[in-house]
């Protein structure tokens, strides 16, 4: 067990003394200051012999920009699905934004998801709703008033450079525009965490960089960003913390790293 605790090297290399006070402090630290905490999380689907995630432990601090890389089937998607509580871990502990997933009741899952912004690779826009309505939907479900919605949505559409396209349907937009709508929808509630699952996967390089630029902008405003990608160029240029996942385990976790698969 201990070797796994060691495997969780803190990216900033804090050294906490192994005194009772130090241990107590580190415990509090984990709960209060960490945005994402995974403690020996394993996920096995069905009766599959090999787990999709094998005793993964991770810390992510507030305002961090973390890139998760790994080949298809390495466990990236499973990791994100655990964070949004689409799946439940077979064993292990997950705490996100102070919420312990073990203690989360079904009826509180929507409340959790409202605190996390998610951008999906396949956009997941509502096909029958306009750009404005898609973004507004995220605010409607938290019960925001119409006037406030009319005030907020244009501002966010401005951030993602979609001004003037409010009345378009997703069908009428390019891939890059759709992805920016999805980002606008994810950030309009000003979440503490933004999870972006290969948001550039379906985009050409120019649009991919537009999307990355928006993510960086949001991160500067103080949102923790968790980005998964296959794009080597993006990883190398961003110079951020990179977590590499291989065979369901953390293969490396390096600050300001390059792509290494």
């Amino acid at each position: 067990m201990l070797d796994h605790v060691d495997a969780v090297t803190h990216p900033k290399g804090y050294k906490i003394p192994a005194t009772p006070a130090g241990i107590l402090y580190s415990g509090l630290f984990a709960i209060i200051e960490l945005m994402i905490l995974l403690d020996r999380v394993t996920k096995t689907y069905g009766r599959s012999a090999t787990p999709a995630l094998d005793r993964i432990s991770l810390h992510v601090e507030p305002k961090e920009f973390v890139i998760v890389v790994g080949q298809s089937g390495a466990g990236k998607s499973t990791l994100l699905k655990l964070l949004t509580r689409e799946e439940r871990p077979t064993t292990g502990k997950i705490i996100v934004g102070g919420i312990d997933y073990d203690k989360l009741r079904d009826k509180d899952i929507p409340l959790l998801r409202r605190k996390i912004g998610v951008v999906f690779q396949d956009f997941k826009l509502l096909p029958n709703r306009t750009v404005f309505e898609n973004v507004a939907f995220a605010l409607e479900i938290v019960g925001m008033g119409n006037r406030e919605i009319r005030h907020t949505v244009p501002k966010v559409l401005d951030i993602v450079n979609l001004k003037g396209k409010e009345k378009r349907l997703p069908m009428e937009l390019s891939g890059g525009e759709r992805q920016r709508v999805a980002i606008a929808r994810a950030i309009v509630r000003q979440p503490k965490i933004l999870i972006a699952d290969e948001p550039t996967g379906n985009l050409d390089p120019k649009h991919a960089w537009d999307v990355i630029a928006v993510l960086e902008k949001i991160n500067r405003y103080g949102t923790t960003v968790l980005l998964t990608t296959h794009n080597q160029e993006i990883v190398n240029k961003l110079k951020r913390r990179v977590i590499t996942i291989q065979h369901g385990q953390v293969a490396s976790d390096l600050a300001k790293a390059d792509y290494k698969i």
Partner: protein
């Protein structure tokens, strides 16, 4: 409170907007609902008409007790009172010898042979008590009473026997069967309609399951996701109920001018039209009730599977 009102108005509004935006899906779903609701309505009217026809037939059936001659009037009155005390007796009608003869002469005025036969003798016709039963299935009770030895001092003969008994029993049996078949038919049509409508709405929602899962991932509450679908299905139900009732109405209007006959076999169209007119609002309300209820319930059931959270570890 205000927030709840905002949410409720949003749910209703979204449902209405979705109804318009998914117009083709709505038309397809409603076409099925209209057809099935029309069949249910039709079967209800047909059943009411059959019941009416059967009642008219059975109303003509009675049991006659032919009395002995020369009884004191007091004994006859007492006996009639006793008969009327029986649970299965609806009404009685006493026909004296003289009245029976008069009726016989009137009925056979064009047959001089028969008339001369009765005029040459003393009045051969007996006084009669015509007994109308409540329930044709329990005629035997009346017969048993009339066959009792005390009754036999007054009653000479009973009409409910031999060929006549057989005929009455056959009619009773047939009408029982018809009535039951009518009720079964209405129920079967109703159940089939419910299943078809349920399936249609389930298909409509299956088509849009992605929307449901997306909303789920964005953190919408169950009622906020489901509400618009329920509203939309209720709109289907309301419109289908109104259209199907109008269809039947038009059918009666058309049949009135197109068909000269007032009945098709056992189906008395005149009565059907009157029944429909007389119960119009009640029938419309029933159609609305079925449409709304099935719409709401099936959309709730159909959305459930897409809204479940994974509980498996």
């Amino acid at each position: 409170m205000k927030r709840k009102l905002v949410t409720l108005s949003r749910i209703i509004n979204t449902g209405a907007v979705n109804f318009v935006r998914n117009a083709w899906l709505a038309i397809a779903a409603m076409a099925v609902m209209v057809i099935t609701l029309t069949i249910v309505l039709f079967s209800i009217i047909a059943n009411a008409t059959f019941t009416n026809t059967i009642e008219q037939i059975t109303a003509k059936i009675d049991v006659s007790a032919f009395l002995k001659d020369g009884l004191p009037q007091e004994d006859i009155d007492n006996f009639i009172e006793e008969v009327e005390g029986l649970s299965n007796v609806k009404t009685t009608n006493y026909v004296s010898k003289e009245e029976a003869l008069k009726k016989y002469i009137a009925d056979n005025s064009d047959n001089p042979d028969l008339l001369s036969a009765v005029s040459q003798t003393d009045n051969p016709l007996p006084a009669t008590i015509q007994i109308k039963p409540n329930d044709l299935n329990r005629l035997d009770e009346i017969r048993k009473f009339l066959d009792k030895s005390e009754s036999r001092e007054i009653v000479a003969d009973v009409s409910y026997k031999d060929d006549r008994k057989e005929a009455i029993d056959k009619i009773t049996h047939a009408t029982n069967l018809l009535q039951r078949a009518g009720i079964v038919a209405v129920l079967v049509f109703a159940v089939i309609s419910v299943l078809i409508i349920f399936n249609t709405i389930q298909m409509a929602i299956f088509n849009r399951r992605d929307e449901l899962t997306i909303m789920r991932l964005l953190g919408a509450s169950t009622s906020y996701i489901r509400g618009p679908f329920v509203v939309e299905s209720i709109i289907y139900g309301i419109l289908s109920a109104i259209i199907s009732t109008l269809l039947i109405h038009l059918l009666f209007v058309a049949s009135k001018s197109a068909l000269q006959a007032t009945s098709l076999g056992l189906l008395d169209i005149n009565y059907s039209a009157t029944y429909f007119k007389g119960h119009f609002w009640w029938l419309l309300l029933m159609q609305l009730g079925i449409g709304i209820l099935i719409g709401a319930v099936s959309s709730i059931v159909a959305t459930r599977r897409y809204l479940k959270f994974k509980t498996k570890k």
